[in-house]
Amino acid sequence: MLNLIFKRVLAAIPVMLVVATVVFLLLRLAPGDPARVIAGDMASEQAVAEVRAEMGLDRPLPTQYLLAMGALLKGDLGSSIISKDPVATLIGQRLGPTMALAICAILLTICAAIPLGVFSAWWHKGLFDRITLALTVLAFSVPAFVVGYLLILVFSVKLNWLPVQGYAELASGFGTFLYHMALPTITLATVFVALITRITRGSMLEVLGEDFVRTARAKGVPERYVLYRHALRNAAVPIVTVIGLALTTLISGVVVTETIFNIPGVGRLIVDAVLARDYPVVQGTILFFSFVYVFINLAIDLLYVVLDPRIRY
């Protein structure tokens, strides 16, 4: 297993460098000028040129590339052109809300989707199964911003139970944290509950038809043991794979939810940076996401070994 970890980490280095190069070129070749964004709408061309020179953006592209890559190899993601803060600091400031949201959403997803999927498979073609399937289609079809606004309308504006927006750190108390996190979590989890319910159902249906399940039932094993010990464990590999992918998507793709609920997370950071053409922040954040993808995929591969002892690397 250590061998696997070592190989994967080594393989990630060239991936990161390619990502960094592609992002660097895409950003520089895209239209837009951070100096103009900083100087503002009414600044003269001379003022913009001075700001550009001050930021080093008037240097030749190869020089900028070499400087950026040199810093990167030393582990320096650079500093924001706009705020001057180190990119690592900015990511650090914004990572907490994003991770909190992603973890809450994935926990809600697991708690809701796996029982729904298991029971749908158990009552295959029954009323529960049909209702669950219909709801999952609905959850897939409604965009996150619609779900978010509907929840805000009902629970915040009409009932005044929960806040419209904002983020509270766990340090401010679990109740306050959950109070702010409830609606964004449901908004974000909706589509993943639908996805993982269907994956769980499909996987369980396949396993429930296997001989070893029939044998367990014939031996008089209680049904809950059949479902959870025999069937679910054998159906777990595809479910865990999808949960892992969902987690990576959650961490990197929560921008809509963060915007609707005004959560200052990494998704908002990258969108703001793109709009302001804050090159180092965009580049650093994408590199960070790449690292997260590599790390989560590695973790999932290692989890396979735990779930299915037949798997060896």
Binding site: S83, I152, Y179
Partner: protein, 517 residues
């Protein structure tokens, strides 16, 4: 189930805050703190909390002393001596001196391409003549010295300590220290997310009642928290729910949601607080031909723009004055776009101009909802008289960069862009960037007109109101003769707030202070 757990667990809603604390939301995220480096309105608004100015404009548009206690003007109007109010201190405890003022004004003059630059060009010497006294000597007559020092919009001549103001105007300052009514809390600042301001106990307000930017500034609350809410609907909901106390800019389409909301007031910043503007590229065909510009002007109709973008006639105002309809010199002479266009006449003008079907590229920003509908109206109007129009959609950052290209449209250039400008930036005959005739290094569009430049210089030098009025009218006429820019109509920006902010001073921008009692 999740909701059932979350609701009761929240012991206290966030709205329960101390009486002297408030949260407010601006129209854009605050990222750059240097009010001279950038002309972004959000940074200007931040500046008004932290910094003070030598003079300020009152509600009638007259410059009034703010940090200045007294001043003298020589008989020939070529030398000014200013004395600072006693007891002025910066937030770091250091007294405000004339050296600080001189350094701040020099940095502002270097960073302001309009009024600051004009004052600099007219100045022979700006120097401290004592700890609290400084002099400004002119080399050419300039009748707008006090008006310049009271400039309201970006960049504002804010006063900061000399050690900070000594940085070049193109280099961002690293400390935010002013002498205004609020102190900026550097440790709380997260660019684009939040900023905190606390009442500065060392600030001594003037005794006069607050009047727009002028008069006594009594900080309204002890602690102000600026939070960025990027989604307008979320911001409106947050205001209704009591999670924020002040929303700087309520979009017209969301105003009905606040009109009947309990405890929430919706108030205009005044008529024509903003204006949509259209600018043509004078360097490239077809708008390098004044006859084509006139034909295009004849096809435009303000009502179409205002209906498409604002919709509510209670909120918008038809206005053809190049210095805006809130200017004391407002005139609508020559503004054909305020009436329904005679398209046959416009087609005739276009034919006479020799227009040969050259492509007209209209830049269309799609990420700023407040003027995303303007460009398609222009495109349709010009097509209706037979122009070959291509509308190109992009985000605002791309547009800003694209707009600076002077090449032809086939090489990445452009023909027309529209903007949404504060009337504060348009109201001054010498500060309005659209009327700059100094040619090719100024505001994109690169209008070059020596007659206009001469009129503006004469306006700047004029010392009587009658003379200024006459020159302002001449500027209005000249603008439409040459089509330097086209006002596309004004509208009123609205703020939404709760009872905490009921007695804030009325001004064209959000100012968080009240009058001295």
């Amino acid at each position: 189930m999740f909701l059932a757990v979350a609701g009761p667990l929240a012991a206290a809603p966030t709205a329960s805050q101390a009486e002297t604390s408030a949260k407010f939301v601006m129209h854009a995220p605050l990222r750059v703190l240097d009010p001279i480096l950038t002309s972004a309105y959000v940074t200007r608004n931040h500046g008004y909390l932290v910094y003070d100015t030598l003079f300020s404009m009152d509600a009638a548009g007259r410059p009034q002393p703010q940090m200045v206690e007294s001043w003298k003007v020589s008989e020939d109007g070529m030398a000014y001596t200013f004395k600072l109010r006693p007891g002025l201190v910066f937030h770091d405890g250091a007294p405000v001196t004339a050296d600080d003022v001189v350094a701040s004004l020099q940095r502002w003059e270097a960073g302001d391409a309009t009024i600051g630059n004009r004052l600099k060009n007219a100045t022979a010497e700006l120097a401290a003549s004592g700890a609290d006294t400084f002099t400004l000597k002119l080399k050419t007559p300039y009748g707008l010295v006090l008006e310049s020092l009271a400039k309201e919009s970006s960049p504002v001549p804010f006063i900061m300590p000399k050690r900070i103001a000594s940085a070049p105007a193109s280099q961002a300052i690293t400390e935010t220290v002013g002498s205004g009514p609020y102190r900026f809390v550097q440790a709380d600042f997260q660019a684009g997310v939040k900023a905190t301001y606390v009442k500065f106990s060392g600030y001594v307000p003037r005794k006069e009642p607050a009047s727009a930017f002028a008069g006594g500034k009594v900080a309204k609350v002890d602690r102000l928290e600026l939070v960025n809410i990027p989604d307008s609907q979320t911001a409106v909901n947050a205001l209704r729910n009591g999670e924020i106390d002040f929303l700087e800019d309520v979009p017209p389409d969301l105003m009905p949601q606040l009109k009947d909301a309990k405890g929430i007031a919706l108030k205009s910043y005044g008529k024509n607080s903003n204006m949509f503007t259209l600018r043509m590229n004078w360097l490239q065909a077809p708008f390098n031909n004044v006859k084509v510009r006139r034909a295009a002007l004849a096809a435009l109709y303000q009502q179409d723009y205002l209906d498409a973008q604002i919709g509510d006639p209670e909120v918008y105002q038809v206005c053809g004055a190049v210095l805006t309809c809130v200017s004391p010199y407002a005139s609508e002479e020559g503004a054909t776009q305020i009436k329904a266009p005679d398209l046959a006449h416009a087609r005739k003008l276009l034919k006479e101009s020799g227009y040969a079907g050259e492509k007209v590229v209209v830049l269309h920003p799609t990420d700023l909802p407040i003027f995303a509908n303007i460009a398609p109206v222009t495109a349709q109007a010009l097509r209706s008289i037979g122009m070959n129009v291509e509308i190109q959609s992009m985000d605002w950052a791309t547009l800003l960069s694209r707009r600076s290209k002077k090449e032809g449209v086939d090489e990445g250039g452009w023909s027309i862009f529209q903007s949404n400008m504060s009337s504060l930036d348009l109201i001054s005959a010498v500060g309005n960037p659209n009327l700059d005739g100094r040619a090719r290094t100024t505001y994109p569009g690169w209008t070059h007109d020596e007659v206009m430049d001469s009129l503006r210089n004469r306006f700047a030098a004029a010392r009587s109101e009658d003379e200024r009025r006459e020159l302002a009218l001449a500027i209005q006429r000249r603008n439409y003769e040459q089509v330097m820019y086209v006002p596309l109509g004004g509208y009123s920006k609205f703020k939404g707030y709760n009872a905490k902010f009921a007695d804030l001073v009325d001004a064209p921008i959000p100012l968080f202070w009240t009058s001295p009692k």
